[in-house]
């Protein structure tokens, strides 16, 4: 099991984000949480969002189909909170279960 896997999904998402951004030199006032926005607060570019999705998939050992979250009505969403990401992962885990 990944060392980043925590008791709750949001805690796992936060742990992965903290791990991902540890070298970025971000100037953030407060620790990441459910309301943290990946673009506005963490300065994610689109490539960083993709890497976060891959990291989540690796942590849980399955693919989540993040396009359902990242794309609305044919357009890419502008920003996402960590809470939204965690809720999406929860939804997928609850409806489809873990694969590996």
């Amino acid at each position: 099991m990944s060392k980043l896997m925590k008791d709750t999904t949001i805690a796992t998402v936060v742990a992965i984000v903290d791990d991902l951004t540890q070298d970025w030199g971000l100037d953030t006032d407060s620790p990441s949480g459910a309301t943290t926005m990946v673009v506005a607060d963490l300065e994610f570019a689109s490539v960083d969002i993709i890497q976060l999705c891959v990291a989540l998939e690796q942590c849980y050992g399955r693919r989540f189909g993040f396009q359902d979250l990242l794309m609305k009505n044919g357009s890419y969403v502008g920003d996402l909170s960590l809470g939204q990401l965690a809720a999406f992962v929860d939804l997928k885990l609850n409806t489809e279960g873990a694969v590996l």
Partner: protein, 532 residues
């Protein structure tokens, strides 16, 4: 422990240039150490994959299998979903067959693979090290293996992840026409990058001495895309401008530096090491732009979508993939790098495209139409080769390949833009990929000063495993070139074909993907937004 096998990848290296750089010149050859390798080793042209492009070619080199088996055809993977086509990026999880890193590793050999594309995310059970290529610096830590290697690299004096890693904004320029200033910057940008990779290789080799030490210098390709007129020996005639001379000096400086890195690595590896060099493809000059989708639109296969106004339209126009009306389009080229045509077949109710029963007839007509694209002045065909996918991509992954693979008369990559004329002369020649790369070998047990006939890119994987003292998997397409090694060496170390690779390595994932086609479409969706 000592390094047994050293592999140095040189992305895009070609004998067209290297033969010139090893020649004696005023003050000696530009690449004196490589000259020694030529003299004391074996070399051969290396035929690339049907589309001589980084993703399929390097993955073939690392797996000993063609794209029809490993399933990586391009940088970008497209999935049709209703009346939309989503574009995703390939990553290591899309490779369906085992790599040499894994094959060697599970047989007890320690490996180090530096800067190779499609090694991210890395496997979890490797005996050794992976620092992947084609990954932005902010994600190098997470995509390197093992977990502590990134912190170890940070202890190397002057280590700079931002200099080392792939920068997408920079790379987008490689196929574009740039200003003189930008071209000069482009070449300069790659000098410190290569030095960073050299330092990492040097560090891991001295600290870990892996059985297989492999490092890829990809600046050769990047430089040649924009600096081809300054490195191609055939283009150094007549009166040369000051800018030309400056660019040539800068480019030769790059190769001079590369030669010093090669010498340092080979020397550090010791006299008992077998050294191999290979490129994923060669290089040549592209002199014209071929707007393939514009041509297919003239023939009625492609229907462009109108670009939105403002920034969104500009981003779309600048994107790497086709922006089309999917209700009406029946055959199109997805990306400039694929050099292929995809026929849209409506396999399920509600899908757009041609009926399955029409496929053969449509494809035959399409081939004829592509053959008809000719130079109005000479009558010469613009598209010199048109391959059906079953002929060039046999294997379980063939269904993901373009239906037709094209080769242009100047080996250039197509444009997917909605611009006329269909064929237009470039303002200046740019470098493009030629199917013949390079393969060299040097060291104990290897013949000396020998030029072999053309080999295939899949042979490299077989050769590296053989050099490590391992059997060549029976399902490899590549083979060990027997003439590369001395008779004594082959007697002492017979070439043995053994158990097949661990096929099915990714089968669980692939199966899940197939069953869940709609959900697996865009794992790297946002990156493509970035690229737009």
């Amino acid at each position: 422990m000592t390094v047994k096998t050293l592999f140095i990848g040189m992305d895009g290296a070609t004998f067209t240039v290297l033969n010139d750089l090893i020649k004696p010149a005023d003050g000696g050859p530009v690449m004196p150490f490589l000259a020694r390798i030529f003299e004391g080793g074996v070399r051969a042209k290396l035929r690339s994959t049907p589309n001589p492009l980084t993703p399929p070619a390097w993955v073939s080199l690392m797996t000993g299998r063609g794209p029809g088996h490993h399933g990586v055809f391009d940088f970008i993977r497209a999935e049709e979903r209703g009346d939309e086509v989503f574009f995703t990026l390939y990553d290591s999880r899309d490779c369906r067959v085992e790599t040499i890193w894994s094959i060697a590793s599970r047989q007890g050999k320690k490996v180090a693979a530096l800067n190779f594309p499609f090694t991210a995310p890395p496997p979890k059970d490797l005996n050794g090290f992976i620092v992947p290529g084609f990954v932005p610096w902010r994600h190098l830590r997470r995509n390197s293996y093992p977990d502590d290697v990134y912190d170890r690299l940070k202890t190397i004096p002057d280590f700079n992840a931002q200099e080392l890693a792939w920068d997408f904004e920079q790379e987008k320029q490689s196929g574009n026409e740039l200003s003189d200033h930008d071209r000069e910057q482009w070449v300069s940008y790659h000098l410190p990058r290569e030095k960073q990779w050299f330092k990492v290789a040097e560090h891991l080799m001295s600290e870990e001495a892996p059985d297989l030490m492999a490092v890829l210098f990809d600046g050769v390709d990047k430089l040649q895309h924009q600096a081809w007129p300054y490195v191609d020996p055939a283009m150094q005639t007549g009166e040369l401008s000051g800018f030309h001379k400056r660019m040539r000096d800068l480019s030769l400086g790059y190769f001079r530096q590369l030669d010093s890195f090669i010498e340092a690595l080979v020397t550090a590896a010791g006299p008992d090491v077998q050294v191999f060099f290979a490129s994923d493809h060669g290089f040549t000059a592209s002199t014209e732009i071929v707007r393939i989708n514009a041509y297919l639109a003239e023939k009625g296969y492609v229907h462009f979508r109108e670009l939105p106004d403002g920034d969104a339209g500009a981003r779309r126009d600048n994107s790497y993939f086709a922006y089309l009306d999917w209700h009406k389009t029946t055959a199109y080229c997805r990306t400039p790098s694929c050099n292929g045509i995809t026929i849209r077949v409506a396999r399920n109710p509600g899908e757009t495209g041609i009926a399955p029963a029409e496929y053969e007839a449509v494809r035959a007509r399409l081939i004829r139409d592509l053959e008809d694209l000719k130079d109005p002045d000479t009558g010469e065909r613009i598209i010199t080769e048109i391959h059906k996918r079953e002929d060039v991509f046999p294997g379980a992954a063939m269904k993901d390949a373009p239906d037709l693979q094209l080769v242009l008369r100047d080996f250039g990559f197509v444009s997917v833009k909605n611009i006329l004329p269909v064929v237009e002369k470039r303002n200046y020649p740019i470098g493009t990929h030629h199917p013949d790369g390079v393969f060299l070998a040097y060291g104990p047990g290897i013949e000396r000063g020998k030029l072999l006939g053309r080999r295939h890119i899949t042979d490299v994987a077989a050769t590296l495993l053989y050099s490590l003292g391992l059997q060549v998997p029976s399902d490899f397409e590549g083979v060990v070139p027997p003439a590369m090694f001395s008779a004594e060496h082959k007697t002492a170390h017979p070439i043995v074909v053994g158990a097949p690779t661990l096929n099915g390595l990714n089968d669980a994932k692939i199966e899940a993907m197939d069953e869940d086609e709609k959900r697996q479409i865009l794992e790297q969706l946002q990156l493509l937004g970035y690229m737009e």
